[in-house]
């Protein structure tokens, strides 16, 4: 009697669980797994949406890796963007969080002000403003003008435009800062007291206490930062001319993929680009994950 009621409970749970998971399962198979397999297949074909895909084996991949200059440039550009913007943003967020954490009056207001850009920064509106601020006759150059410096048009110059996009990303440091603030609150005050009795100075305290205890948070932000900024699109699309210019200086990886797929309708090639992107992101994430045992400190688990 008891056993059968237990069994029916298990069965009921099983049924309810699958009922609750139905939307997710449909989405998982129809919008994630199915399309992934399809895009892997398309990447091995020549496909322009109008005619049926033609199997060409690894040709797309071979062409991308050996011949495609634009691919190489856009990959380098995207790496430059990721490896400048992610660490700068995190460092800035940490510095500001530490300044705010010292019991400043009006913390709430500052936190709000610093956080707001990370909410608004993803919009077209802010990208347009950015373009204007760094234009030849823009506000940034008027500011430099006070010091007698005559700046170029930062958005027209292929060497400089990337830095305006990096600045737009760093400007959105607020969300990471809020996470660091929460992390800093968790650090037990006794640690600082004990270490200052032992004669540790401020820098020593930072490197031996604060930084190690924040490494899990830094780790999380690093992973998500790499994944997200590798996929950045809107800033490059709007601050540049939307086609990668000037001189491919805003040809971010996703923009190149978009142009190949939706401008030239070379869907096979674009799919191959997408798979290469998945491999690169997977590889970067794997590096961060495998190195974490050397630098990420998880308090209770014996430093593992």
């Amino acid at each position: 009697m008891k056993k059968s009621s237990g069994n029916s409970l298990v069965r009921e749970q099983n049924r309810t669980a699958y009922l609750f998971l139905t939307p997710w399962l449909i989405g998982f198979f129809c919008l994630t797994v199915g399309p992934m397999i399809a895009s892997l297949y398309f990447s091995l074909t020549k496909y322009n949406l109008l005619n049926a895909p033609v199997w060409i084996g690894l040709d797309n991949y071979i062409k991308i890796v050996t011949e495609d200059e634009t691919f190489r440039n856009s990959l380098m550009l995207t790496f430059k963007y990721v490896f400048l913007s992610v660490p700068l943003k995190l460092a800035f967020a940490l510095i500001v969080a530490m300044i705010l954490n010292k019991g400043l009056k009006g913390l709430g207001i500052y936190r709000t002000v610093y956080y707001l850009p990370s909410l608004l920064g993803g919009s077209i509106a802010i990208a347009i403003v950015w373009r204007q601020i760094f234009a030849g006759d823009g506000v940034f150059n008027s500011f430099l003008g006070w010091f007698g410096i005559e700046g170029p048009s930062w958005i027209a110059h292929p060497d400089y435009i990337i830095y305006t996009i990096v600045m737009l990303t760093v400007w959105q440091f607020g969300s990471a800062m809020v996470i660091f603030l929460a992390g800093l609150k968790q650090v037990p005050g006794e640690l600082y007291e004990a270490s200052s009795i032992d004669g540790a100075g401020k820098p020593r305290q930072f490197f031996s206490i604060t930084l190690p205890l924040l490494t899990p948070v830094i780790f999380f932000n690093l992973v998500m930062g790499i994944i997200n900024s590798f996929q950045a699109f809107t800033p490059a699309f709007v601050i540049g001319d939307g086609r990668g210019g000037p001189l491919d200086a805003t040809m971010f990886y996703t923009l190149y993929l978009y142009l190949k797929g939706f401008s030239f309708f070379d869907m096979g090639y674009a799919s191959a680009l997408a798979w290469i992107m998945l491999l690169i992101i997977g590889f970067l994430t794997a590096i961060v994950f495998t190195t974490q045992k050397y630098w990420v400190f998880y308090g209770d688990e014996g430093g593992k």
């Binding site: 298990v10 009921e12 749970q13 099983n14 309810t16 669980a17 609750f20 399962l25 989405g27 919008l31 994630t32 199915g34 399309p35 992934m36 895009s39 949406l49 300044i99 400043l104 500052y110 709000t112 610093y114 707001l116 850009p117 990370s118 909410l119 608004l120 919009s123 077209i124 509106a125 347009i128 403003v129 601020i133 006759d137 008027s142 400007w171 607020g174 969300s175 809020v178 996470i179 929460a182 948070v217 999380f220 932000n221 998500m224 994944i227 590798f230 996929q231 699109f233 809107t234 699309f237 709007v238 993929l257 797929g261 869907m267 674009a270 799919s271 997408a274 998945l278 992101i281 994430t285």
Partner: protein, 279 residues
Amino acid sequence: MVHQLRNSNLLRHLFVIALGILMLYPVLWLISSSFKPNQLIFSEPGLWPKQWTVDNYIKGWAGFQGTTFGRFFLNSAFISVLCVLGNVITCSLAAYAFARLTFKLSRLWFALMIVTIMLPYHVTLIPQYIIFSELNWLNSYYPLIVPKWLATDSFFILLMVQFIRGIPRELDESATIDGCNQRSIYWRIMLPLLVPALITTAIFTFIWTWDDFFSQMIYISKIDLFTVQLGVRALFDPSGSSDWGALLAMSALSLIPISLIFLFFQKYFLEGIATTGFK
């Protein structure tokens, strides 16, 4: 000593205030420029307009080809609200199953769900586009809304799973003893307790949908279906002949919904981010 301390405090305050002004400057510049006559926008560096005008707003609001920005705002609001409902309902259902129910293959599904969080959107982009165009869904809102009703934003599932794990199990157990089945536990016990996580999900879904320029651009090309982001982008001509006044006025308006949500739900933002660690 005390003097020195006060000095360093003052310095810190000055730095924090200066940085705050710097942070807000682009937004303030946008607002002030939107009230300046076109010819003054780039020649007058000050934030306070010497000459005020609302012409930019009137010109911008008119939109194009008889479709006003009023339409674009309604369209964006419609999409965002439906996406919010989709995410809140389907992600909470999935999260409850993952966090509380025992079922076959639960570990496998959970692991797969986690993997999809990290998956770049672009790997599925092209086949999804083909599916939606086969379904004749181009120039409709289905491609933007339907994925949210299929819980594809698995990030929010994880957020809610974490939240549910923090709710004491005794609550469900006593409800089971009182004769509640799993469905009514979800409905009567979980959902009310889950409200903070639901609000966080709703807020971020709204903002991300509102700003999701990429998908909107790919799927929508008819002007009367345009969203606010597409409308603003259409006013902007990268070759330089934009009507800057109108463009900046509509840009400023496009930021209002997100700013209002932020003002009203600030508490949830700051707590939500601190506990889950996202944007």
